[in-house]
Amino acid sequence: METDRAAKLRRAALRPIDPASLAAARILLGLLLLVLVIRFFVHGWIDEYFYAPTHFFHYLGLAWVEPWPYPGMYVHFAAMAACAVCITLGFHHRLAAAAFGLLLAYAHACDVTNYLNHYYLLVLLCGLLVVVPASATWSIDARRGRTAAATIPAWTLWLLRFQVGCVYFFGGVAKLEPSWLVDGQPLTTWLGARPDFPLLGGLFAHPDVALVASWLAAAFDLTIVGWLSWRRTRAAAYAAVIGFHVVTGMLFHLGMFPWVMVAMATLFFDPSWPRRLVPARARPAPSPSTAHRPPPRALAIALALHVALQVLIPLRSHLYPGDLLWTEQGFRFAWKVMLMEKSGNCELRALEPSTGRTWVIPPSRYYTPYQASMMATQPDLILQFAHEAAADLRRQGVRAPEVHADCVVSLHGAPRARLIDPSVDLAAVEDGLTPQPWIYPRGHVPGSHPLDNARLFGRTATK
């Protein structure tokens, strides 16, 4: 029985399908990537993200990734634009997609505070474009006969559908927690801030609207892939996709995310859907095709590994103790999209044990206001801040400085609580993927800091 099922699955995966929807996805994605790059130039983000900061937050193991010396990042983004055009036109699209993905990943990795789920998604999609025959039609390469094909194997479309489906599904799973479903947070806060939203703003002040919207959003994320995949509900589902992403795009600063999802949702359509939109003479005559050959073994293994990782990585947060929204361990690369309203105040206290000298170190000493506000709620970035400060103090001749965090955070407007154990010398803590005991559980009422004033003023205080 299992063998039969496997055989059926194999046959279905190798079934020839029209390459049109994959080509349309390539064209749409290429255009969106081009817009993404243009926005960096128009908004001045290349300077803001890469040249205004003097210090950067690094991903584990990627401390070597830094912005190129000026104006290198401008060249970097110009190269991305060229790659986006190539992807759109289907001109050496695999090479262009690989290059764009690597360039975007590099830019994205320069500073953790720039992390966005949809940048990660775009890197993954570019990676998958390298693998799938997205230039089989409607491409320069196909016109030249290099990549033209009447059909492509179904698994190539499945792969992209899976990737897009992960965003929705795990985005929905992330919403299955009390603050979202019971308290209606953070939508209560966010919708309440938009009374002037076109058409719907008048409703946002109603206390139940945010809760209903929370449930609807969770249901949307968890089920939309199914509705899009089912032919009978597809049209209504896609209308819902457009409505959902347009509204959220107008409500929040989501950048390209809504438009990427609206474009990529077309992958769930019938593979021939774009042919209804193009003139008849532009349609290649469909040719009968036998089943495709399976991909090379090495590629099949790599893709299987990719699929497994895409399932496991979003679930890794469950391996960590405590409230994910509080500790943020396992938060990134897991499609935790727009889940919380969190704000923090974080500074460091440094101590030179041999002399008793102390320092209060505000993040503004090293970071831009944007970096500082992002850092203040994320423990691993606070740890990097502490390491940066410790290294700086050592350079100034301070002997064996201890660095302690004084960080308080409010989640969804709740009374602020201490995020980091202030008694821990963060200068002596190594970053890692294991649970970090120096992160306090949610709700730790802030008392005075161990180094608070007693040491700073104790040596010379007068009445």
Binding site: H43, W45, E48, L116, N117, H118, P186, T188, T189, W190, G192, A193, R194, P195, D196, F197, L199, L200, G201, G202, A205, F252, H253, L254, G255, M256, F257, V337, M338, E341, K342, S343, G344, N345, R357, T358, W359, V360, I361, P362, S364, R365, T368, P369, Y370, S373, V409, S410, H412, G413, A414, P415, R416, N453, L456, F457, T460, A461, T462, K463
Partner: protein
């Protein structure tokens, strides 16, 4: 057919909601922007222009025949101006930043050597000279320097003696005239149109595209001031960032010993944004200020913020004078002032920001 009927019903429901929204008020947020603009910001700048104008006029009358009593009266007027300016720092939004008024009105620190060189020089000292000078050779801090100190190298024992020099008096008068003109222009910028642009987000030529952006701007200004008080006005002089070694040269308003009063005035400005110009919680249904927005969902935060501001103001007022001496000695009172200032900063940056869904460090970055 059935789908069409369902679609029509949904459209009707949305349309009904949409039509309703035209008659529904926009809740307290839009009203808060209007109230903060009309009742706090505009009166704040008008008051600032009034007291600076009075100081310039009084100086014109008193400087030619200056004596101890007249100097003391001018110093009192300067203190009133300084307090009025600090109160406006709670709404550091719009023209004061965009048109660089703040650098022309209250740049700190003072370039004492350059000021003395200009006073001792041969160039005609008048408005034209002042208008061509950099920000740290004019403004409130320079006026303070001339009104309250004998200056470096003047040989005078006190400001009264130093101001016997007609060029020094002329420099002071020109500085005060320039400040009066700048504050008048700043107030006019608000009364002449910016107040309407501020209060009506989303409309053509509005200062903000959405109400949220307007509230974000107000709260960010509050956060900036709370941070400035804790880190710059108190923390830095106390040596918090320099291994505990006091940096008394960083104490602001040093010649007038107005540093603690600067901080108290800053808290008054924050309190006005929170509760209105009288700084007292308003009656139910009264004009909404920031507190009303917090009270929609988190009334306890409004109460906490009031308590924090009151505690911090009381603490800084209790610091012994002169502030420089208290800082140098790191007295327990100045320690308490700094501690409570940090509490105010933390409350703004955490509970207030999170409760109102404010985007800190106002920018156009994407998020998801």
């Amino acid at each position: 057919m059935r789908h069409a009927a369902t679609t029509a019903a949904l459209l009707a429901a949305v349309t009904a909601a949409a039509c309703g929204s035209n008659t529904i008020d926009y809740g307290p947020r839009r009203a808060a922007l209007a109230a903060i603009g009309d009742q706090v910001i505009v009166p704040g700048y008008v008051e600032l222009a009034r007291v600076t104008g009075e100081l310039a006029v009084a100086a014109r009358a008193d400087l030619p025949a200056l004596d101890a009593a007249r100097l003391a009266a001018l110093q009192d007027r300067w203190r009133a101006v300084r307090a009025a300016w600090l109160r406006t720092q709670a709404h550091r939004i719009g023209p004061v930043r965009d048109d660089l008024f703040e650098s022309r009105i209250a740049q700190w620190p003072v370039d004492q050597l350059d000021v003395e060189a200009l006073v001792a020089g041969t160039a005609t000292v008048d408005r034209a000279l002042i208008d061509t000078q950099g920000a740290n050779r004019k403004g409130l801090a320079v006026a303070e320097y001339l009104l309250f100190s004998a200056g470096t190298g003047t040989g005078a024992a006190d400001p009264l003696a130093a101001l016997a020099d007609p060029r020094r008096r002329a420099y002071l008068q020109a500085v005060l005239d320039a400040i009066a003109d700048e504050t008048t222009a700043l107030a006019a910028a608000w009364t002449g149109g910016y107040a309407a642009r501020f209060a009506n987000p989303g409309e053509p030529d509005a200062a903000f595209a959405t109400v949220k952006e307007g509230i974000d701007a107000v709260v960010n200004a509050n956060v900036f001031l709370a941070e400035n008080v804790a880190d710059t006005k108190l923390g830095a002089p106390l040596g918090a960032m320099t291994g505990g070694i006091p940096q008394i040269e960083l104490v602001e308003s040093p010649w007038s010993d107005h540093g603690a009063d600067d901080v108290a005035a800053a808290y008054d400005g924050l309190r006005a944004i929170l509760d209105g110009p009288d700084g007292a919680p308003g009656p139910e249904g009264g004009d909404p200020f920031l507190a009303a927005l917090l009270e929609v969902s988190h009334p306890e935060i409004a109460d906490q913020l009031r308590a924090d501001l009151t505690g911090a103001r009381d603490a800084v007022v209790a610091v012994s004078h002169p502030l420089i001496d208290a800082v140098a000695a790191k007295t327990a009172a100045v320690d308490a002032a700094w501690t409570t200032a940090r509490t105010v900063k933390a409350t703004y940056k955490t509970e207030v920001v999170a409760a109102l869904g404010v985007t800190l460090s106002f920018n156009d970055n994407d998020g998801d």
